[in-house]
Amino acid sequence: MMVCTALVFFMHLGFSFLEIGLTRQKNTINILFKNFFVITVGLLLYCIGGFNLMYPGFEDGDMGLLKFAGFGITAPEGGMGFGYADGGYTWWTDFLFQGMFAATAATIVSGAVAERIKLKGFMLFAVLYVGLIYPIVGAWKWGGGFLDAWGFYDFAGSTLVHSVGGWGALITIYLLGARIGKFDKDGKPKALPGHNLPIASAGVFILWLGWFGFNGGSVLSADPELTSLTLVTTSLAAAAGGVAATFFSNLLYKNYDLTMFMNGVLGGLVGITAGADQMSPTDAILIGLIAGVVVVLGIALIDKLKLDDPVGAVAVHLICGIWGTLAVGIFGAMAGFDQFLVQLIGVGIVGAFCVISSFIILTIVKATTGLRVDKEEELNGLDLSEHGMEAYADFRTNES
């Protein structure tokens, strides 16, 4: 369990690498800075919130607000991080494991909005999203809230982590607009290739490794059989997702696209996350294969909608997150129409809440710090304009 916590922590390097690698070098420092910010501030926020939930004062306030909104969360420990402290691990481990999770939601957004968001705006958004929205949604299910009561199932967060991040990403890129040069005058998408594919690939490997902790640790017990099954389903879905995405994109676009391979692997991982402990290996492979195809189509769809998602966060985390959540009702031990319906409703409610709250938060952000850097800053790159530094000071660059 502690090892899993370490692995989930390490995923933040994976995300950083993936995001850096798939964007242009002139925004590298900015992305790294955002990732450091999200993990450190995320942990601290989580700590502040976690502690307060233990003391009546804040707890009453917080729960009251939620009670007022009508979501019957009444248990004193209804918040995150304490709800299931009855297993074979300590409260501290649980806190840290959950804290590492929490920051993930904002990291997902970070990738999608890269290369054009204002640093201050992002920081404000991340604080609010990680500090408020993620724990509220989490409480509905993992905190024993109403989604849990309805029988909604989300093993390790296809919806609670990935979709929450994915919805935030979707709304933010919609409000933010595309990067300069992403669409030409006729609205046709252009390629703005990532600048460091080895680093991006390493990110995918590290994320896959981290998923061993993400899904393995979510068993939240030392039951070796279930944990190991989870690791098998996780790996097979990842492998299937990668293979499917590659060959499907090869079919469509007649080339062997490494970035599709990478996104396919991630899509498979996100897809299996909701039901990693409920699936047989064959189910896992099927879920992965479908996720791989879905990712490729998702990326094309985002382009068609004139949205600009440099790293494919929406396709991977939101679309595959939804697919994974629904898949619990289709494949595996829990499959059944009723379950499917519950899953669908869960996806819908979480989606609606995230969309609305993202809109509200982003409106606040726009009004206070501003959302997007100006044209000159964007063209020069955020590294120079926001940080006054270069990521690769000794190398001659080449970008257009």
Binding site: G181, E376, N380, L384, G388, M389, R396, T397, E399, S400
Partner: protein, 112 residues
């Protein structure tokens, strides 16, 4: 034939390229250089604030036949300028001969 060397801001490159295509200048080569000039750029690194006059610029090398010289210069002047110090320079150099490697033809024919 003339060689037009233009040193411009990297952020202006796309506009300049389109303007060049607009005046039928479809062939050139470019690379990135460090420019030392009047403009200063503020940096901070590990607590040391410093300003440098060494800034990344893009270097365009365009060989054109005489009738194109003026159009080319105007295309660059009208798109590469931001009005702030550091917009760069254009230099005109004489070229005595040009060859197209593929065919071996020379003179103005080799240029397009």
């Amino acid at each position: 034939m003339k060689k037009i060397e233009a040193i411009i801001r990297k952020s202006k490159f796309d506009e300049v390229k389109e303007a060049l295509h607009g005046v039928e200048v479809n062939f050139f080569s470019y690379w990135d250089v460090t420019g030392v000039g009047n403009e200063k750029e503020g940096h901070v690194y590990r607590g040391i604030s410093y300003s440098t006059s060494e800034i990344q610029r893009r270097y365009l090398s365009i060989i054109v036949s005489e009738p194109f010289v003026e159009k080319t210069i105007n295309a660059i002047l009208s798109t590469a300028a931001s009005g702030k110090v550091g917009d760069g320079k254009i230099f005109i150099l004489p070229v005595e001969e040009a060859y197209r490697i593929r065919t071996g033809e020379k003179g103005n024919d080799s240029l397009n």
